[in-house]
Symmetry: C2
Subunit: 115 residues, 2 copies
DNA sequence: TGCACATATAAGCATATACTTATATTATGA
DNA sequence: TCATAATATAAGTATATGCTTATATGTGCA
């Protein structure tokens, strides 16, 4: 496997974004499945504008992709990003966030959308 | 090899420290060999107080260790830190900083101290 | 067309961050 | 003991950050 070296400046930018509990959790959540804003709000127990602002930073940096489906906007991890290898490594070393989504599911709060 | 999971909060704290070009370079430098403050100043072309302040943050978080030898204080990577695996992975994915030290050496500015 | 929901954006504000300059601390060596 | 070198710390300041509340935008549906 070819090893790609990530420019220091770009690595620092990504690491700065990862260096926040909220954003790190968001990335941990989208690692496995895409999520919409209201799910983040529910899981993280934060205000909707605050979540939106964090998502915007992640999206502006290109770390996540957004896709509108009906009234929801789903966010997913951008695995094509130059710094994705860093994100991947980091996410492997922190607790899995999946259970938080299954808890949502049990509470009937998971958004299932196929429009 | 046992895989250790790093608490999200602690991971975020370390990532925040890594998310700065200066500190990321410093960690890249001490990855291979310990360095003293004046070497960082030379390599990074920044003021001494600024460097010292970055080093303090890294040391307060426990990411680096310091050791006085005569009038110099040498800094090295703390490989016992809980989040060291993250740091290690990140440093593997950015350009090696070693050449900057060899450049210093050629310029006769490397501190060699054995007191 | 109009209302409700999901989301984004704007503006304001308190705190954090990363420098600067000035000064203190510690060690060396004449 | 004094001057110098290496480093740390303090104080000041401009900018960045992450929230808040208020409002705008876009979609679905009666």
């Amino acid at each position: 496997m070819e090893k790609t070296i990530i420019e220091l400046e770009q690595a620092a930018q990504t690491l700065k974004l990862l260096g926040d509990k909220t954003r790190l959790t968001i990335l941990g959540l989208v690692k496995d499945s895409e999520c919409c804003v209201c799910e983040f709000v529910e899981v993280l127990q934060m205000s909707q504008p605050s979540i939106s602002q964090h998502l915007r930073k992640l999206r502006d940096a290109g770390l996540v992709k957004e896709q509108r489906r009906g009234q929801w906007i789903f966010y997913s991890l951008n695995r094509e990003h130059a710094t994705y290898p860093i994100i991947q490594q980091v996410l492997e070393q922190i607790p899995d966030q999946k259970e938080k989504l299954t808890a949502l599911e049990k509470a009937g709060l998971r958004i299932q959308c196929d429009s």
